[in-house]
Symmetry: C2
Subunit: 209 residues, 2 copies
Amino acid sequence: MRIGILGTGNVGRALAAGWSAAGHEVVLGSRRPKERTDLGFAVAGLGEAATHAEVVVNATPGTASLDVLTTIGAAALAGKTLVDVGVGLSDDFTELSHPNSSLSEQIQEAFPETLVVKTLCTMDASAMTDPGGLDGPSTVFLSGNSAAAKQTTARLLGDLGWPPASQLDIGGITTARGQEHFALLFMGIAGGLGTHTFNINVVSRSSAV
Amino acid sequence: MRIGILGTGNVGRALAAGWSAAGHEVVLGSRRPKERTDLGFAVAGLGEAATHAEVVVNATPGTASLDVLTTIGAAALAGKTLVDVGVGLSDDFTELSHPNSSLSEQIQEAFPETLVVKTLCTMDASAMTDPGGLDGPSTVFLSGNSAAAKQTTARLLGDLGWPPASQLDIGGITTARGQEHFALLFMGIAGGLGTHTFNINVVSRSSAV
């Protein structure tokens, strides 16, 4: 697929590496593409990266994402799956920018013709693209209103190494707030462990499910 | 130990059963103790349950907890470990009562002489007291400013079946907000699985920790 990844930070670059390795045609979108020619991936302006993509991935800082998407404009995003991995946090990582709401819900509201899917925001870039590198299976969540967009996203997660049994669809886009609110527990766990390289695995009881 | 559990709901009763079975002397605190004589445990008024306890457990609804504790008063709680398992949620479970903060932080601020420890709020009562009943090991978190109070709480968790390797100290009381904010992801996971009987396990990479 043609994937346009908005953002050239750790997350955007890790996802670009993972999906490129799986054979997808990846373009990174940057505010200053001419200054980012050393990344080893095709880099374009934000609008161009979105326009040419079949699937758009938001990997910009969650505090800036709505502005970035507004600048790109609804036309370039209409009808497309937008995989949103952003979380808005304060500079010290102790407060959410969208408490009791979520970035994904606000994107979906602002761009009603775009199929927003929240995923991958509950872990570090190291786990996103190498789930098999952890000591056991762990869980990635999907939230979104479009079943088709979640299917597309599920295939892309598979291409990063996420088996179907590790993917949990938790519902419509309003459940994105659960994924985003986890960011504060993520920071606590990272502090307790002394590393960001971890994920959580949902453990249930066979007889109860 | 003499444990006073404030609240006679599912959580309070499950914890009372677990700690009674481990040999502790448990008293449940109720607003209307004379109406709750059918629980199979000693029931007292809220203030009496707190006054006679060495460890107090807050298992009241998170939206009511500060009022309950204020009614009990600081004197009955001073110098004691207060194990807080409450989370304040809206009636439809989609919004937190203490966004970008936490019930535990607010209790600690209101009762500076009490040693508040947050734990067990990231799971259902069924998992709190029967962690071995799930399909594999899972994690319980501890947040609090007092190392001694966290040690006391860790022993009480052990008595419920939580081995030390499943207990993760994530830091001071401000990290309680991570545990409480998880409630929204908990609801999403419960919706996705179709059951509340589950927990999360932190999975890291041996070489990274």
